[in-house]
């Protein structure tokens, strides 16, 4: 497969490991932002093969993990309504709310459907004019253009029975929150390649210079990740702190201008609560006022929902890179993918699930 096989090449990976070993002289903590990167690192066993000086901290870039419990409960309340067809990306279905997950709601008669593209929801809405079709629009900047497009199209085509429950989050404010935390250990970031494919990297330049932290835009295949790590190590070792693009086949400095335009026509920035972390100012998108008729949060009155996280779950600290999944006393015992205490144990991109699924119980 083009653009995949060459980035999983064993010989190339081996020479990159060797270069990293040559470049590193002392301990560094590097955070990969994106859950997709965490997934690859653990799936391919990259972290086992890196020199011991390099610690990879797993970042908050797992969209289903950071969606707040309040909002999930709100989504579940809407999904339970008999007049609603509730559409979601697949990995949201197993994320636990205060009382069960979307699979259980489906089992009890809720019409819950997995979609691969938010535009599929518009087809569902047209085919079911007597139902209200609600899409759970979550994700980072990566999914924002397509999610925005679904609302834009619904208005253009007059599909009035479609609405979106929007819980978008954005990367740069989360990086600021991590860097400003008194317990922060992160010394360099691997930027999320797909997010940067949409947004470009201009907005990371002020962060790199203000916090004196290297930021390397990085892809998702093993060789991509090793190149990102090597670039970060070289910057750290030589005292540089720049934004560097190591995902050139997908990312341009200005990003995808058409996609950005669509995002900001439909969405506007807002404060957003992150599961396990708390409210981060300016870290989300919500629908603009002119799209209020397509905003499920305004259309459906589900009453006041105040949710309580399981006290034992440390997913907030895991998402900030402050703790590792194996530091959690509940890991693999009281908390497993079957009985998750927090969302990081659910999604394939969640750090805890990645550790669990790819066998990190062994290294304990």
């Amino acid at each position: 497969m083009k653009y995949v096989d060459e980035f999983r090449n064993h010989a190339l990976a081996r020479s990159l490991f060797a270069e990293i070993r040559r470049a590193v002289t002392r301990p560094w903590v590097i955070m990969e932002i994106c859950g997709g990167q965490t997934h690859s690192i653990v799936k391919y066993g990259l972290d086992q093969l890196l020199p011991p000086e390099i610690e990879l901290a797993h970042g908050p870039g797992c969209p289903v993990c950071v969606t707040s419990l309040d909002l999930i409960d709100r989504a579940h309340a809407i999904a339970r309504r008999p007049d609603v067809i509730f559409c979601s990306f697949g990995d949201m279905l197993r994320v636990p709310g205060s009382a069960g997950d979307l699979f259980q709601i489906k089992a009890l008669g809720g019409d819950v459907r997995v979609v691969y593209s938010p535009l599929d929801c518009l087809k569902v809405a047209r085919a079911n004019p007597d139902k209200r079709v609600v899409f759970f629009a979550i994700g980072f900047e990566t999914t924002a253009p397509a999610n925005a497009m679904s609302v834009w199209q619904a208005r253009a085509l007059g599909i009035a029975n479609y609405s979106a429950l929007v819980s978008h989050v954005t990367v740069p404010p989360a990086m600021v929150a991590i860097l400003e935390s008194p317990t922060n250990r992160v010394q360099a970031f691997l930027g999320a390649g797909h997010v940067c494919a949409v947004m470009g990297w201009e907005e990371y330049e002020p962060l790199a210079s203000r916090y004196r932290v290297p930021i390397v835009v990085t892809g998702f295949e093993p060789v991509d990740l090793l190149e990102g790590i090597l670039a970060a190590v070289r910057q750290l070792e030589s005292g540089r702190c720049e934004v560097e693009n190591r995902y050139a086949r997908a990312v341009r400095r200005e990003g995808n201008l058409d996609a950005k335009r669509m995002v900001f026509r439909v969405f506007e920035p807002c404060d957003r609560a992150w599961r396990g972390i708390g409210v981060i100012p300016g870290s989300g998108y919500r629908l603009r006022e002119e799209f209020a008729a397509f905003d499920a949060a305004r259309i459906f009155d589900v009453g006041d929902i105040v949710s309580q996280e399981p006290a034992e779950c440390i997913s907030g600290l895991v998402l900030q890179g402050a703790r590792r999944p194996l530091d959690c006393p509940a890991f693999g015992t009281r908390c497993t993918p079957e009985t998750p205490l927090g969302a990081t144990m659910v999604s394939g991109e969640g750090a805890c699930a990645a550790y669990y699924n790819y066998g990190r119980r062994l290294s304990q």
Partner: protein, 347 residues
């Protein structure tokens, strides 16, 4: 007297209702079987948990199995529910080394189901049974009100004769065994999913549905087979985990040695699915004594259904019950049963 009894099923973890994952072939399915069915039906034939029971009748050994087919859509590239119902039950018999003797077919039909579609399914079953040389010898038909079933469900059962001297069971795999796979994985699951979800992937995704009893006969003639499984629901990954657990052996497999067709790999890549846990309907994995592995592999490759057969790993004494997969770049990871259905990732 103590009134403690094993037939009181333990609560299924936090689930008050059946969810789709209970039918996925993953951990939820395993839980349901271990906590609900095994304690209730408890007997040595069932407790082996192979794909078929083997009964001693007079001097002969009879393999006996059953399976239900509820696939949506009924027709998909490379097959349909009828062919699947014939092949699947033949394969469950064949995985004990048995020569299939006869099948039964029970139909649950939904009121309003188109006669023309039923005709297509029945013709396809008839053709599959003829081609396999296994008669459909008995059957049953029920019709349920509209909404009580999804168009049609089929249950097939089968009996077969286990040849003398053949003793194949997941529990018989042993350290040193070579692991042979009969061909590419994930074709069936991805073909059905792409049709069901109307995804238009470039390149043909086609189900691999096939009857494997003749391939198995060729393999048995070529060497000493300890364990055989057809990796259907749950995929190759779940099958290796089950065999490792059942035989209390470690399994070492190599990711790069496992054949996956290019369009299938691309579709999995796009949806964030792991082909190791996607269903197959015409593949088998064999644990073979090391001294006859080369001969068995050659016999597999000589059969059209095993043309792409490959050695994908070996059984070891270490890490009993665990499957270690060596990754393309030299790392390793543990394979575990998936929890329920694999879910497409968000991005």
């Amino acid at each position: 007297m103590n009134d403690f009894t094993l037939s009181c099923p333990l609560p299924i973890t936090n689930r008050k209702t059946i969810v789709l994952g209970h039918g996925s072939g993953g951990k939820l399915s395993a839980q349901l079987i271990r906590q609900m069915f095994l304690p209730a039906f408890d007997n040595p034939l069932l407790n082996r948990l192979d794909d078929q029971a083997v009964l001693a009748v007079g001097g002969a050994r009879i393999a006996f199995t059953t399976d239900s087919y509820v696939v949506t859509p009924l027709f998909f590239p490379g097959g349909d529910i009828g062919r699947l119902a014939v092949h699947g039950t033949i394969n469950d018999l064949a995985m004990s080394g048995a020569q299939p003797l006869a099948l039964s077919a029970a139909f649950i039909l939904e009121e309003g189901f188109e006669m023309e579609d039923l005709r297509r399914v029945v013709d396809s079953m008839a053709e599959a049974a003829r081609a396999a040389g296994v008669p459909i010898a008995t059957g049953d038909t029920k019709v349920v009100p509209r909404g009580a079933a999804d168009r049609m469900f089929i249950t097939t059962s089968g009996v077969g004769l286990v040849p003398e001297g053949v003793n194949i069971s997941a529990a018989n795999a042993r350290p040193g065994d070579q692991i042979l796979l009969s061909g590419s994985i994930a074709d069936h699951g991805m073909a059905v999913m792409s049709k069901r979800e109307n995804m238009e992937f470039e390149g043909a995704l086609e189900s691999d549905t096939a009857a494997l009893h003749r391939l198995v006969a060729d393999m048995i003639a070529a060497g000493e087979i300890h364990a055989l499984r057809d990796p259907t629901r749950g995929g190759l990954g779940a099958t290796l985990v089950e065999i490792a657990a059942s035989a209390r052996i470690g399994v070492e497999a190599e990711s790069a040695a496992i054949p996956v067709h290019e369009p299938v790999r691309a579709a999995c890549e796009l949806l964030g699915l792991d082909p190791l846990f996607v269903a197959n309907e015409g593949k088998l994995v064999a644990f073979v004594a090391p001294e006859s592995a080369a001969r068995v592999l050659a016999a597999m490759r000589a059969n059209p259904l095993g043309r792409e057969a490959a050695r994908i790993g070996q059984a070891v004494e270490a890490h009993a019950g665990l499957v270690l997969l060596k990754t393309e770049i030299g790392g390793s990871r543990v394979l575990d049963l998936p929890f329920g259905e694999q879910l497409p990732r968000i991005c």
